[in-house]
């Protein structure tokens, strides 16, 4: 019996002796770090394991005679085209070309693997996580942002990430909300600045999936923020990035700022409300019967102060009551005490210019610094603009976008509202709203996307039919027609 058992043990041991596998699509370790593949100048090449593509973010100023410090696994040999790379030292790559396919051979023992390396100008973001990213709660992750600038050190932060959006959640390409943590316990929120943006706790990766141009929201905010004049134009900045979840590319995203207490420099007296749906309530047609006593009041949502700590609706309820229920004379005499009319005029003209049908009920915020100041409108989510609806359908250029607030302002004409509207339109048409300026903003974003080869990337990855040239032509034509229509309406 003992002999048989000994033989069995011997046999099992023989069958089981050590076997290893080489892995490229590794899972993260306990610190959500992935093993080194290829690092140039302390910046990782991001890796798309499905297409066996490596990408390295680099700016145009650094591509001539590129001589990076190269790091890879000690047990591998790497050849880039005909250059055998030396590990742990500076290697001269010569002059490199952006968006050109370079063949990379990785030899490890008896195994040879071939990959394609692209040098690209687009900043890359790699989210490393051990779990699926869901529609809340936030999944612990590590976010690494690689800047193209050669001397700029990559950002590497503990983050929580979740899907964001409502109707956009039905699409395969999801948008994400990101919160920064100081460690992996998720107990200690932190702040971080990226690119040249303000330090903030929360950030957004906007998938822009429905937008046929991938630039409507970004261009709209650029225009809004560029508008000069006495009114406040609070808005976010954003940058195009290519996003990777572990070793899988998700294509181009807009990495954006977010309206937080920190971003708005808000104190304890600040209030911020958002319209969550296009309804008669958020378009000021009807007043919500129930008194506000929680985070939501009909289709309005309190964002600041933090509704888990304090519920404050007094001033905003008064504004709603005034717009919906007041007599014409009361409205005319008091509306300018509640809301900054310069800001309202600019918002109305701006939203009409870009055709933001989805921005006069939902996707707008009402912000007020304290009891003594007035409400300001802040735009949000302008994907359905410039001739397309939020579902990418073509929209007419000859429709005035309005709601009960804007209608009553025109009807009652408080504080010379109508004249100021016309004068402001005239002023803006000579500057920020000139056709050449508008086409310039759009064209520069299209040129940026073209330089990142976004059309091919998105079409291959998401099986869509982006045609950025056609879309640019469509937008330019729509803008021209839109300006003509609005010039007539505002008697320019």
């Amino acid at each position: 019996m003992a002999k048989y058992i000994s033989f069995l043990v011997f046999l099992v041991f023989l069958m089981a002796c050590q076997k290893t596998e080489g892995i490229y699509d590794n899972i993260a370790n306990e610190n959500l770090e992935l093993p080194l593949l290829l690092r140039l100048n302390r910046k990782n090449c991001v890796f798309d394991s499905h297409n066996r593509i490596l990408k390295y973010s680099i700016d145009e100023n650094s591509i001539n005679n590129f001589s990076p410090y190269v790091e890879f696994q000690r047990h591998s040999n790497i050849t880039l085209e005909s250059i055998k790379l030396t590990n742990g030292t500076v290697n001269n790559f010569g002059n490199i070309e952006l968006n050109k396919a370079y063949r990379v051979i990785i030899n490890t023992g008896n195994r040879t693997d071939e990959f394609t390396l692209f040098f690209t100008k687009i900043p890359t973001i790699q989210i490393v996580t051990a779990n699926p990213i869901i529609n809340g709660p936030k999944t612990l992750s590590r976010m690494i942002l690689n800047y193209p600038e050669i001397r700029r050190i990559s950002e590497n932060n503990w983050t929580g990430i979740e899907q964001r959006g409502s109707s956009s959640l039905r699409y395969d390409k999801k948008s994400f909300g990101i919160k920064i943590y100081s460690d992996k316990s998720k107990d200690s929120p932190s702040s971080q600045s990226y690119f040249d943006f303000k330090q903030n706790q929360k950030w957004i990766l906007d998938a822009m999936f429905v937008d046929q141009s991938r630039l409507r929201n970004k261009s709209s905010f650029e225009l809004w923020k560029s508008m000069s004049g006495p009114a406040n134009h609070i808005g976010i900045d954003s940058r195009f990035v290519e996003v990777y979840i572990n070793h899988q590319t998700l294509g181009v995203y807009s990495f954006s700022e977010n309206y937080t207490k920190e971003f708005l420099d808000a104190n304890d007296q600040c209030v911020l409300y958002a319209g969550t749906d296009n309804s008669s309530q958020t378009e000021f047609e009807t007043l919500i019967e129930k008194d506000p006593n929680s985070r939501f009041w009909g289709d309005w949502e309190q964002k600041l102060p933090n509704p888990s700590q304090e519920i404050v609706w007094d001033d905003f309820e008064a504004l709603n009551t005034l717009i919906v229920n007041s007599s014409n004379s009361e409205f005319k005499n008091t509306i300018a005490h509640h809301i900054d009319l310069n800001n309202v005029i600019d918002y109305f003209l701006f939203i009409n210019l870009i055709g933001g049908r989805d921005n006069v009920g939902k996707n707008w915020f009402f912000f007020k610094r304290d009891h003594l100041s007035k409400f300001n409108i802040i735009p949000w989510d302008m994907d359905g603009t410039w001739g397309r609806s939020p579902f990418a359908e073509k929209t007419s250029y000859s429709v005035l976008i309005t709601n009960n607030l804007f209608k009553r302002l025109l009807e009652t004409d408080p504080a010379n509202y109508k004249l100021r509207l016309k004068e402001r339109w005239k002023e803006l048409r000579l500057a920020e709203f000139s056709e050449s300026n508008l086409n310039g903003i759009i064209a520069s974003n299209f040129a940026e996307l073209d330089s990142y080869k976004v059309e091919g990337l998105e079409n291959n990855l998401w099986k869509v039919n982006l045609n950025l040239k056609n879309e640019q032509f469509y937008m330019a034509t729509w803008v021209s027609n839109r300006l003509e229509f609005l010039d007539e309406r505002f008697e320019y």
């Binding site: 089981a16 596998e21 892995i23 899972i27 195994r111 051990a130 992996k184």
Partner: protein, 230 residues
């Protein structure tokens, strides 16, 4: 016997299949868990234990862990026991550096007789480990918990108690959702001798929820001396 070990060594040299790549993940391995310890019976209800064990991996030739373990068991009745254990281990990490770990565990054990020669044993274990306990900074200390459920069939015959068992591990760590991460199957024997018990057997472990799971075969051997109070 010496000849057998020589043959095993030569076979290992030829069969080891190393496909090196960016990360080298071991998918098959064998190891040895060899230990010696003692049980000290305080009275009918209470027992303490001590065990020192060495664990190897990488074709059983590299040290994976050195473990020192203390235990205390309370017997409620013939069928139900509660145990507490504390373990110190000096263990090798994935990057081959060594760390100091502390683990405690709480066990509930249930025993019943299925037939004259067949016993059923169930053990629930909760364990919590502090990995790299002597790290300089708190965030480097990793907390790891597991819930383990083991079911065992035992066939006592003369001085032997031959057994088979299956154990499922569920892991709780901060950086990922709780998941079943390992299953362990055992076959072995516990032999009573005049001085104590010899336990020997084979275990097969497989990682779960992993694209490249490790299949691990372990030869287990342990000798524990039995002492009685008074």
């Amino acid at each position: 016997m010496k000849l057998v070990f020589n043959i095993i060594g030569i076979v290992f040299l030829f069969i080891s299949n190393s496909t090196w790549c960016q990360e080298i993940k071991t998918t098959n391995d064998i190891g040895l868990w060899a230990g010696v310890g003692g049980n000290f019976k305080l009275n009918k209800k209470w027992k303490t234990s001590f065990n020192q064990e060495i664990r190897t991996f990488n074709n059983a030739i590299k040290i994976k862990k050195s473990i020192t373990e203390l235990g205390l068991t309370h017997k409620f009745d013939k069928q139900l026991k509660l145990s507490l254990g504390v373990r110190y281990s000096y263990a090798r990490k994935r990057d081959y550096t060594f760390v100091n770990n502390i683990r405690y565990n709480i066990d509930i054990k249930y025993w019943c007789k299925l037939s004259k020669h067949l016993n059923l044993l169930y053990r629930f274990r909760y364990q919590h480990s502090y990995i790299n306990l002597f790290a300089n900074t708190t965030p480097d200390i990793e907390n790891r918990s597991s819930m383990r459920n083991r079911i065992k069939l035992q066939y006592p015959i003369n001085k032997h108690a031959i057994y088979i068992s299956a154990e499922l591990f569920r892991e709780y760590v901060i950086y990922k959702k709780p998941s079943f991460n390992k299953v362990r199957l055992n076959i072995g024997d516990k032999l009573k001798t005049n001085l104590g018990d010899v336990k020997y057997g084979l275990a097969f472990e497989r990682e779960l929820n992993n694209s490249y799971p490790l299949n691990y075969i372990i030869l287990k051997i342990n000798y524990s001396f039995n002492f009685k109070h008074g």
